[in-house]
């Protein structure tokens, strides 16, 4: 079920572009490219800093759209979760990223790149609970081999 193709080259290239964006935002603007932080602080902000956050957040789908058009959607987009699971997952991701002060980008990329102990631990924790959740859903509840 749901097998995907291992694409290390595209992964590495895309990852380096993500790293380039994070490095650029830090060097030019002094800001950390953590999506959940940028998103969260757009709501109860220090309004002086709202414009760059909105610009960054608008750039995300713009870039993904350009790349998807250019590659002919080679890597696809497939959501198979039940509607209730989508809502539960969204709430958990939203609350968890704010409570834990970061997500895959803020802790997993920017934090680890700085050698932050908090980010390394947070990344290990969410990788573990993420893998545990997939194990429970796919192998215990749905009985996949």
């Amino acid at each position: 079920m749901l097998e995907t193709t291992f694409t290390p080259g595209a992964g590495l290239l895309g990852g380096m572009l993500i790293g380039l964006a994070a490095a650029g935002l830090l060097i030019a603007n002094g800001k950390i490219a953590g999506i959940s932080g940028i998103l969260g602080r757009s709501f109860f902000p220090d309004t002086r800093d709202l414009a760059w956050r909105i610009a960054f957040l608008v750039g995300l789908p713009l870039g993904a759209w350009i790349a998807t058009r250019a590659t002919g959607d080679a890597l696809g987009f497939e959501i198979t979760s039940h509607p209730v699971v989508l809502v539960a997952g969204g709430l958990l991701v939203g609350v968890g990223s704010q409570l834990g002060n970061g997500c895959t980008s803020g802790h997993g990329v920017c934090g680890i790149a700085r050698g932050s102990r908090r980010s390394l631990v947070a990344t290990l924790v969410f990788m573990t609970t993420g893998a545990g959740t997939v194990f429970v859903v796919r192998h215990l509840l749905m009985g996949a081999p």
């Binding site: 749901l2 990852g15 380096m16 932050s116 993420g130």
Partner: protein, 146 residues
Amino acid sequence: MRIAVSLVCGVVFGVGLAISGMTNPAKVLAFLDFFGAWDPTLAFVMGGAVAVSAAGYVATRRRERAWFGEEFSIPTRRDLDFSLLGGAALFGVGWGLVGLCPGPALASLFRGSSELSSFVGAMLVGVIGFRFFTRQRRGVLPQPTT
């Protein structure tokens, strides 16, 4: 200028997410499925991102301020508290349920997928709700003066 740079960085970030395949939730879930048809791509994405981002971080260490005059806003905390661990744990469960985290979820909004919209809607409720209910404790809004 800061805003233009921010937009460009967002675009490059979005291109990277899409090229790496991380905008496909099925691919993220396949990475987290260590006991199934495991797809290790995400590790390569993270490796590439951390390497380049670390080089950028090292470059800032020799500077007082960013190019456009801002001070560097870099977290300095080192303590491991309940918020960090509990938040990361909850985040991971949500990530593992759907295969989406905030970056890819926002990046894929251009597709107009209704499934994605319900995830993003719930995520925004979570983000805004959390920040609303904790805003005084976290000092986001001014405290009452009395």
